[in-house]
């Protein structure tokens, strides 16, 4: 019974959280209010873990909350609940898209959409870069402490390598970043 509730709660989250992982947060707090297996004090920890592990945040949080409810099985049920609405909705949207792919209106919509998405991804990248290269708890006036010099050097190096050798796989660069981070105590 508890697993059915878990499935339904995360199904609801997947269906109504529009716009990425952080959009699932209000739903998690609502769960914490409602059920004894999740406390709202645990949620900041879950965010920290979700952000410092690979994978989509929403999925990480569902897995974590599900585990607290019912172990491994809870993790799987919560995650399946979260992704099921996506699968259904996207399949419907895909059918629609295929049917109207060649229509003027759909073409025009995407003509306007693509630059917007470029801007949105640029914004996400900007956020990541600011977080990576500048200290969050220091005033910019104190610029020698504000700028994270080690990270800036790594940034320039990785940028140069990835532009010069385009074939280097992103995974290799990420692993190199992790090693450099540990060796030079970044972050």
């Amino acid at each position: 019974m508890q697993l059915v509730i878990l499935f339904l709660e995360f199904f609801k989250t997947g269906l109504f959280a529009v716009g990425g992982g952080l959009a699932t947060l209000p739903f998690l707090y609502a769960l914490a209010d409602k059920y004894p297996w999740l406390q709202s004090q645990q949620i900041p920890d879950m965010i920290a873990v979700s952000e410092s592990t690979p994978g989509p945040m929403g999925v990480n949080m569902a897995t974590y909350a599900g585990f607290h409810c019912d172990g491994v099985l809870g993790s799987i049920v919560a995650t399946v609940g979260l992704v099921t609405p996506s699968i259904i909705v996207i399949i419907i949207v895909y059918q629609f898209l295929e049917r109207f792919r060649t229509s003027r209106v759909v073409e025009n919509i995407f003509y306007g959409l693509r630059p917007v998405v470029v801007g949105l991804i640029g914004s996400a990248g900007f956020g990541v870069i600011v977080l990576a290269l500048f200290a969050q708890d220091v005033s910019p006036v104190d610029w020698t402490a504000f700028v994270r010099w080690k990270e800036c050097i790594l940034f320039v190096l990785v940028l140069a390598v990835s532009r010069k050798w385009k074939k280097v796989h992103p995974i290799a660069l990420i692993l190199a970043g992790a090693v450099a981070g540990i060796l030079f105590q970044m972050g």
Binding site: G19, S52, G55, P56, G58, H68, I76, T79, Y94, V116
Partner: protein
């Protein structure tokens, strides 16, 4: 069957190396799905992203479902999504079970300090590539700039920007068509 397996593995690899939210998957998607496997074009990936942004659910899962479904129908959608979430399930279960202080471990924070830098570079490169392909005229430059500035500095939901792009796309094209007398 072979392609279903391949969808699972490819999205598992993308899931295992996507740090910091759905947008960070883009460089991996470009490399794995567009360049290596040729499962979708760069434009299609952008379209899926835009749709994934304003449909319910996790953007990563929405994009995986799109590409899986395009290749192999419903089984493809399920295998791609299952692959995408598989690393998360395993990693988070281990952390929830034994490494409850994972996020506070110094070695994790250091590693992540370095990973963030690389993710920043990867997204920057991805944006540069997309800019060349998808921002084709002055209106595109204006739309991209508005979306960037509004979302970066006001915290307004990206969903509104996506809707704005769709509406302006329709309006701009019908006006220019009317101007040429073909509407």
């Amino acid at each position: 069957m072979k392609e279903l397996f391949s969808l699972f593995i490819t999205f598992a690899r993308i899931g295992a190396f996507t740090f910091g939210g759905g947008y960070a998957m883009l460089p991996m998607l470009q490399r794995e799905v567009v360049e290596s496997r040729k499962w979708a074009t760069e434009d299609e990936v952008l379209d899926y992203f835009a749709i994934g942004q304003c449909t319910p659910g996790v953007i990563f899962v929405n994009t995986a479902t799109f590409i899986g479904y395009k290749r192999k129908g419903i089984p493809g959608a399920i295998f791609a999504t299952a692959g995408g979430v598989f690393p998360s399930l395993v990693i988070i279960m281990v952390i929830a079970a034994v490494l409850t202080n994972f996020a506070e471990l110094p070695v994790v924070q250091y590693a992540f300090g370095g990973i963030r830098v690389v993710v920043g570079v990867l997204i920057l490169n991805a944006v540069a590539g997309m800019w060349k392909k998808s921002v084709v005229d002055k209106l595109g430059v204006v739309l991209a700039a508005i979306a960037f500035l509004v979302v970066t500095f006001t915290g307004l939901s990206p969903v509104w920007m996506v809707l704005m792009g769709a509406v302006i796309g329709i309006l701009a094209k019908s006006f220019s068509a009317a101007g040429k007398g073909e509407a």
